[in-house]
């Protein structure tokens, strides 16, 4: 059985309209993968940067997977939320990226997008906040039914991920 270690951190996010942000993250894999240890989802703290635009979380990720097949390679999906001074939370972006498939240290920049409502909803959003959210978050990492969605680009999330692979060459996998 081949094993994969994902060791790294969600460093932070930048490029969003406001900077008091937190992130909910998770890892999705196919059926052949089994998580041996580590937490495969979590939520970071809220970070309000004193200087600059980037919110830093440095949230650690440490996962150990074992697999019998390559299908369903792990995907990291994220939801970036903004918490304002009143304590209300507003969705700022969904994004996903594949976990790198070559061993070593990788700096990954994951782009995010937010669903766009009608123009009435957009006007209401500038005054009151809130905004449309996805009913089922697996649309973030699957391309199957996206054609009905209208989105707008938001900022980027930076991650540093280290990958260690074991026994993949026994299955004839070159990496």
């Amino acid at each position: 059985m081949a094993e994969l270690h994902i060791i790294g951190q969600i460093v932070g996010a930048s490029g969003f309209p406001q900077s008091s942000l937190f992130c909910k993250w998770g890892i999705h894999t196919g059926g052949a993968w089994r998580l041996l240890s580590g937490l495969k989802e979590g939520q970071t703290q809220v970070d309000l940067p004193q200087t600059g635009d980037m919110a830093y979380w440095s949230h650690p990720i440490d996962l150990h997977y074992t697999t019998k097949g390559l299908q369903g390679w792990p995907k990291l999906h994220l939801q970036v939320w903004h918490q304002d001074s009143f304590g209300r939370c507003q969705l700022y972006g969904y994004g996903y990226c594949h976990v790198p498939s070559s061993p070593g240290h990788h700096h990954v920049r994951c782009v995010t997008w937010r669903p766009l409502g009608s123009w009435q909803e957009q006007i209401a959003q500038t005054f009151v906040g809130g905004g449309p959210q996805l009913r089922s978050p697996d649309l973030v990492y699957s391309g199957a039914d996206r054609y009905r969605l209208h989105t707008v680009a938001m900022g980027t999330v930076e991650l540093e991920l280290g990958i260690i692979m074991r026994h993949f060459d026994r299955y004839g996998v070159e990496s």
Binding site: G15, F16, P17, G69, L70, Q71, W73, K75, Y94, G95, Y96, C97, H98, P100, S101, S102, H106, C110, V111, T112, W113, L116, V140, Y141, S142, G143, A144, R146, Y147, R148, L149, H150, T151, V152, A153, M154, G155, Y171, G172, V173, E174, S175
Partner: protein, 157 residues
């Protein structure tokens, strides 16, 4: 992963169509499809897809993000006909009709590892000025009947 038959190899592609940079247009969506030779066959994953419609971010510098997943595995015996991905981008024109904004194609990278590719996009243009005007008016731009033409070298003259 079939090493008992050494002439067959698998190519697994995991990635995303991250976004596009079209300075003049907004509210675009893209369609992708894979074009490959006779010796190739997809074993799993989706061969075609349509993304969501995306708008330019107001605060972020004029980028359009799709973040659209690409996952496919091919089985083959021969590198000839190495898969190419063909991306077509569509958007609304001034009257609200859906017209094509760009076609582009690139080969899937040959080496294992992480790669980023930027694909330049182009659109067919009519040669007569009258046709350019009527196509602007009626919202019927010239487009390819089969976008896979973009991945081939024949017939481009």
């Amino acid at each position: 992963m079939a090493i008992n038959n050494p002439s067959v190899f698998l190519l697994m592609i995991n990635g995303q169509i991250e976004g596009a940079n079209f300075p003049e247009y907004d509210d675009l969506y893209c369609k992708y499809c894979f074009v490959y030779g006779h010796d190739w066959a997809p074993t799993s994953g989706l061969e075609e897809g349509i993304s969501q419609i995306t708008s330019k971010g107001r605060d972020s510098p004029q980028r359009m993000i799709w973040n659209f997943p690409l996952e496919i595995t091919f089985k083959s015996t021969n590198p000839l006909g190495w898969p190419q991905i063909v991306v077509s981008v569509y958007g609304p024109d001034t009257f609200g009709n859906d017209v094509v904004r760009g076609y582009g194609a690139t080969h899937i990278p040959f080496t294992p590892g992480q790669h980023t590719r930027t694909i330049p996009m182009f659109v067919p243009e009519s040669t007569s000025r009258l046709q350019k005007f009527t196509s602007w008016l009626l919202g019927r731009r010239p487009e390819f009947t089969d976008p896979k033409v973009v991945a081939q070298g024949e017939g481009r003259e």
